[in-house]
Amino acid sequence: MQRIDNPDFKLKSPNKFKRAAFYGVLLFSTSVFKVPFAVAESQNDSNSSVELEVIDPYLEVHTGPGQGYPVIYTVEQGEKIFISTRRPDWYEISTEDGHSGWVKASQIARTLLPTGEPVDLPSVSYGDYLERSLYVGLNVGQFSSGELESSDTFSFLAGFRAFSWGAVEIEQSQFYNADYRGQYFGINFKLEPFSDWVVSPVLTLGGGEMEVTVQPKQLLSIEQDDYFHYGIGASYYLGRNFVMNINFDKYDISTEQSDKSANRWNLGFNAFF
């Protein structure tokens, strides 16, 4: 009884959404800002930058993290530098006499730690693709023949590579045609038996639900139906954490009247973490 009289209690259920939204935003913002926070902490730390000794004849210091930015300074052999920031292929450094700028990662790789050991800076390679296993991706393609012929498509993917030879992913796709459009959402299993090859073959097996959302002319019998697909493709390691892939898939869609088939090709890439 007391609880019902309590105005706070009455507010509880309509506020559920607000509260969920609040926690959602909180979670999101902490996840987004976690990186800068971590950085701020590390900057307070006395070890916020790494001290290195130059062993190349000289290091070229650019104004920005790119080959196109001008060289403003050189650090000579034997001098000490401090690294503070990493960008793809570049490091921001400062020198003992107060100069700062950006040096290419390949040059930083030829420096020594105060202990005299060569520095081993973080890098990402194809080996990480086979070991580390989460990825997100995008691909673009077209239904080339069959039921959805000449529809343009694109898909977003998120996957988990459990083994060097296999992965499971979820796929959300949109397809567009002058007379209709729709989408499908499904789960795919990827088999990549020769993943150490430069161009490695990939087999796909998957299924999900396809929905034609708009079709004024009623050309298709697909409304909201299950589909199954299988296909063959190839993946190629582009560098860093990117893998390019090309696929050709055959779709079987079970509609109320009959089974329809469609073929789709696509070209895309995955970024792995």
Binding site: F28, S31, V32, K34, V35, P36, A38, V39, S42, D45, N47, S48, V50, E51, T63, G64, G66, Q67, G68, Y69, P70, I83, S84, T85, R86, R87, P88, D89, W90, Y91, L113, P114, T115, E117, P118, V119, D120, L121, P122, S123, R132, L134, V136, L138, V140, D152, T153, F154, A158, Q174, Y176, A178, R181, F185, V214, G239, R240, F242, A271, F273
Partner: protein
């Protein structure tokens, strides 16, 4: 339907941020570093993501030119290339055709909504001297990608191409001026008409 897609995108975006975190943390806490450097306490600031707000004008074919607002998120992939997600929307007024012939579309359908996923490449990197001796890093870049345009009750597969100019304001903030062309099929006025709409936008971005 739409909310399902939006939910998926939201989940996708939050998932990718969560997924990216362990990798970043691992790299910055020196785990990816091998024993030689890890005991030196190497903690580097990784600058790989950028988020920003966009405002500009968009010229919608057969309709009007309108103010647009949007958000964007960029992943710096290499020293020259980046991947970018953009979302923009604009409220579309009556076109001159509609003023004389009557309104074609109404309500929610009059909002132009677009999202795309682009690959960008720095063509020229350099420095800009807006104020005397202070050098500001700049770059001219090209953009290409695909996306979705939702307008007039139609959702259309869209090819986006553009060119942009980036100039650093401070170490963490930069300004981008983009000109993009959105190419998509539409049946609003004529059947299967290819539309080209152009957007000019200015965005302010923060490097995470």
């Amino acid at each position: 339907m739409e909310s399902r897609i939006q939910r998926f995108l939201l989940i996708g975006a939050s998932l990718s941020i969560f997924l990216a975190q362990p990798a970043l943390a691992e790299e910055s806490n020196g785990q990816g570093l091998d024993n030689t450097a890890s005991h030196s306490g190497l903690e580097l600031d990784n600058e790989l993501f950028e988020i920003g707000f966009t405002a500009g004008t968009i010229n919608i074919q057969d309709f009007t030119s309108e103010w647009s607002t949007g958000i964007n998120a960029t992943f710096l992939a290499t020293e020259n290339a980046f991947l970018q997600f953009n979302y923009l929307k604009a409220d579309v007024g009556l076109s001159s055709y509609e003023k004389s012939q009557g309104q074609l579309i109404a309500g929610d359908d009059r909002e132009f909504k677009h999202y795309d996923f682009l690959v960008g490449y720095d063509l020229y990197q350099g420095e800009q001297f807006f104020t005397g001796n202070k050098a500001q890093l700049s770059a001219l870049y090209a953009l290409f990608g695909v996306g979705d345009t939702n307008f007039g009750g139609e959702k259309s597969f869209t090819y986006t191409m553009g060119i942009g100019y980036r100039v650093a304001l401070t170490r963490k903030f930069n300004l981008k001026l983009d000109f993009k062309n959105y190419r998509y099929e539409s049946n609003l006025l004529l059947p299967e008409q290819t539309n080209n709409s152009q957007g000019l936008s200015l965005s302010i971005n923060y490097l995470l």
